[in-house]
Amino acid sequence: MKALVVENLSKDFGGLRALDRVSFGVEAGERLAIIGPNGAGKTTLFQLLSGMLAPSSGRIFAFGKDITKLAAHRRAALGIGRTFQITNLFLNLTVLDNVLLAVETLGITRFNLLRPISSYKHLLARAETILNQWGMWDRRDVPVRSLSYGEQRQLEIILTLSQDRSLLLLDEPTCGLSPEEAKGFVSMIRDFSRDFTILLIDHDMDVTFEIAEKVIVLHFGRVLAYGFPDEVKRNSQVQEIYMGAQK
């Protein structure tokens, strides 16, 4: 069973067709990169996949289930996780609060109105473990808006990863990171188990081709090329439109 199947997905914004009959499938455990010039529809695609926007037509299947009409928060429960291109964190809350919110969704009755949050020891323990893994435990009481940009990007990834979602949508995760940080990110992803299926949007071609097993090229909302990285690189249309400008 494929992790993700997209069938003829289209999205119109008024008169503008942002996505035009996009179709592809992703095997479980696969790493798929989505590339294309600005405005090609990449983020729109993620918006549709994560449920933040509804498609104008077409269908989406995740793990065999039709999720086209499913609400965003239900998709998360199904196993879809997402990072955001523009850092989307809980700015006025502390690092620890941020991670707790990510972790809280696992296993406690969410509508408990009276029991103080500090009593959920196992959650705190899990948050501590995660933060320690990333070396951010000593920053736990810092309000996120006081973190450096790199730290914020890191937290962005931490939040998504701490939820154990199996289908990850990573939207420009290395945006703004230094070359070393980006390298660190790449090796981290390469170490991920095959339990995770990853869709990646990234402007950095090095990062993209180090991680991707398959590549889709979007152009004006349409699939221009779809296949193994080498094939795509050699595709003359792709070279013309996109890569020629890069190198």
Binding site: A76, L89, F90, L91, A102, T105, R110, Y120
Partner: protein
């Protein structure tokens, strides 16, 4: 995450509050009653506004509805006080208004939400104003009788006894609201306030959380409404008016949105000033208006936070 509850401070505060009526003339005790009632009102609004990030200029809708419910039962139906029923119906009516309103209104955001809630509460005001047969129109409903607790030796007709009655409810509400705000539910509300999209992508049913927060805050506002009905022994459309909602909002902002106890302090300050000023001049509205403007200009983070900052400067740890 260890929250240090200043038990000593709270104990002292409670002691002072309990001792007040002994030292003060009953006029001032009455003032404190108002402060406590509006503290509950302001704190309930803070849950919505400060913690969930849902701005509301219509909070009076819950306050007034429950006050009217009590009045109608007390005066028109029973012709005497049936406390248990009136309390429950009062609070329940506020909750029902919230549950109906919430269905329609919570899909809107920011400015829209603010204005829609304002319009909604003014609509209720309009209904109260026009429906003379039920609500007495702008004459209101006078003659509400306070609960009869003669059996336990309480004469709620006396201001002092009524003060303790209100104080009890204040303490209960404050404790409950504190728990709610520090629960996992409350924590979720903070997340929603900061970033709804993030919360949705993390798997939270944001709408449902907002809905519940809406109803919870309405319940406490309704409680305040019940208490004000018994205190004034009279209910009028002004309990539903924009002015009341706006006052609530100012109390929250002045006190400090998102701090829960800040708004309680804000409520006290506003009540004191209102009373003080209206004793001196007919044009207290101008003063109040100027006060609102000054608050926004100079103390938008609220008195409570200001206080905390200052106290931290004096005790560097």
């Amino acid at each position: 995450m260890k929250r240090q509850v200043p038990y000593v401070g709270i104990a002292i505060l409670l002691a002072i509050l309990s001792a007040l009526p002994i030292f003060l003339p009953s006029y001032y005790t009455g003032l404190f009653i108002l402060m406590l009632i509006f503290a509950i009102f302001a704190m309930s609004l803070d849950i919505l506004q400060g913690y969930t990030g849902l701005p509301s200029l219509g909070h009076a809708a819950f306050f007034g509805t429950s006050a009217y419910a009590v009045a109608i039962l007390n005066v028109k139906l029973y012709q005497e006080c049936n406390f248990g029923v009136e309390l429950i119906v009062g609070v329940l009516s506020a909750a029902i208004v919230a549950s109906l309103l919430g269905l329609v209104v919570l899909r809107s955001k920011g400015i829209y939400l603010l204005m829609i809630l304002m319009a909604s509460s003014m609509m209720l005001w309009g209904i109260a104003f026009k429906w003379r047969s039920l609500t007495g129109g702008d004459d209101g409903i006078p003659g509400i009788s306070r609960p009869d607790f003669d059996l336990i030796g309480l004469d709620l007709g006396s201001t002092t006894h009524y003060y303790y009655f209100v104080l009890l409810f204040f303490v209960i509400s404050a404790v409950l609201m504190y728990l709610v705000v520090h629960s996992s539910f409350g924590h979720t509300l903070l997340g929603i306030r900061e970033s709804e999209t993030r919360m949705r992508s993390l798997g939270y049913n944001v709408w449902l959380h907002k809905y519940i927060a809406f109803i919870v805050s309405a319940i406490f506002a309704g409680l305040a409404g019940v208490l004000i009905a018994y205190y004034n022994c009279f209910v009028s459309p002004s309990e539903l008016h924009l002015v009341t909602s706006a006052e609530g909002l100012i109390m929250v902002i002045l006190g400090g949105a998102g701090t829960l106890f800040g708004p309680a302090i804000g409520a006290s300050i506003i009540i004191l000033i209102k009373n003080f000023v209206s004793g001196y001049t007919e044009h207290w509205m101008i003063i109040l208006g100027a006060l609102y403007m000054l608050t926004v200009m100079f103390a938008p983070q609220g008195v409570y936070r200001l206080f905390k900052e200052l106290s931290q400067k004096w005790r560097p740890i």
